[in-house]
Amino acid sequence: MSSKSDILAALGSGALKPHPLPQVEIAPRLDDLVGQFEASVKAVGGTLIRDNALAALQQQVASLVADGQQVISQVADVRGNRATPEDPHALRDINYAVIQGELAVAENGAVWVTEQGAGIRIAPFICENLLLVVRAEQLVANMHEALKRVNLENVGYGTFISGPSKTADIEQALVIGAHGACTLTVYLL
């Protein structure tokens, strides 16, 4: 017998009686979603820009490009100076990535980014600094609401990003900037 059929056969004689499939019936906290989101982004080490966010982002990126920084932008109306390569390794020197998020979560400051939004899967990780753009109407209260809206059809890869990368593996001291982006700014449109 194959290992698969061995495993399935062994599962046939499991001791647990059948338990029913539960359902989540938790009322989402809907008061001041933007305020909740802002507090969460801050708590996880990120920055939220909510006033004239698109203009602020365009201005920021223009000055970065003028400064000679390497910027890849996947957001319409925001122009970087690098194209999306086929080989992800080619992005090793990227300073800033500008990426459209599809969903934001108030309870934890996370933004849902898909491979389509990122242009290439590595983009939000390999950059030194990450600038995420998300529309205010895409803001939901919690992960139950978020995963109700996430549709993985045609999405081979997607990730919730909550703050810049971090670690506390040396003596529990929090250090921002582990392997992914060292800073995260969320622009709420």
Partner: protein, 458 residues
Amino acid sequence: MATTTTANHAEKAEIFCRDESRVDWHSKALWLLRQKRDRAASSLPEWEQLRELGSQYKLHTLSHLGQYLEQFEANCLKQGIQVHWAKDGAEHNRIVHEILAKHQVKKLVKSKSMLTEECHLNPYLEQHGIEVIDTDLGERIIQLNKQPPSHIVVPAIHLKKEEVGELFHEKIGTEKGASDPTYLTRAARQHLREQFLSADAAMTGVNMAIADQGAIVVCTNEGNADMGGNLPGLTLHSMGIDKMVPNMEAASVLLRTLARNAIGQPITTYSSFYHGPKPGGEMHIIIVDNGRTKALQDELLAESLKCIRCGGCINTCPVYRRSGGYSYNYFIPGPIGIAVGAQQDDTNTTAWACTLCGSCTYVCPTKVPLDKIIAYQRRLKAEQGKLPYGKERYMPIVGKVMGSATVFNCAMSVARFSLRHLPHAMLKPFSGAWGKYRELPKAPKTSFDTWYKQNRSK
């Protein structure tokens, strides 16, 4: 897998306890995690509801596991993901090596996976000439230090920053004497960035496998799973059969509790859904049994498979905090390590490395009845005639004494008399290991029973 170590839990704990200030520091560092967890949990009014849901989803999935594994595989195949099944660690390692060999992989970057520890994958691949780089900072530290993890979430919790500084100076060329965590982390970032960019393949563990999607979820704070998983074309993901959840709703419950319970964060920095290979790449999932179907044959042990490896039980455990991760004779320490590994401890002592205080069960986000399982592991050991040295002789006597009110009251009366009238130096030997670091108690004049009858009983 049984360890070859013969020192028992108490002996190993004693080694750890020789440095008292380190024990205090270790205990405090872990208690800090527990406090962060408490704040994160109490910030959600629905916390207890989430724990109950976590438990129910896991029980449902485990009681229909065959069906969900098949659904998961079918959905993965539709997505172009290749699925492999392994009965045990040896088969898992063989499969991984075959895939890597086929692609002539020389260097593999690996993010945290307790399953690959369980299967002893690293030494196996190294024997076959493949370089394995652990990329989680804590795991890289202990890999360079040639040690196993001492905790499942914070694997280098036993090391001080000065020790990490010394190690990094020697291995990756940081400045001598430097011990600032930010400086050391930045140095590791650079060192590992080069490894990511030069790796031929990447491997991750799995936090959840979603049956009705054919997707796996990998959670990290550092971004190491995604830096690895999104660079080379070839990625492998190993999962125990217990990682299965039915649907996105179940995943949403666990994603709300996992990081809160582990380290007090509302969610990990990255919660990534891998749902198919990258363009031109290959994605493999290896589904591993390695004893899990056997645990499912027992109604109580089956509940240990509800665990989502947050480490919350380890952080709160008064024994773990003061005995360290290397005292358990199993690659997973603490309450969950005893619950899933006690039968493989050939010193027959780790099942007793527990006060049965129940704190672990109280914090568990999927309500694994850890204290009950640990007590049960003791029973299983006793039934096999494998009680720790000494217990086998005196426990039957204790049982008889405590089983009879007359004998018990008589014995207690003798004890009270002796404690009042005899020198403690003479009595100490009778208190065994308990009295090693403790003074004997002051004896009350009467038993509680007598006191109660005189004062409360009407």
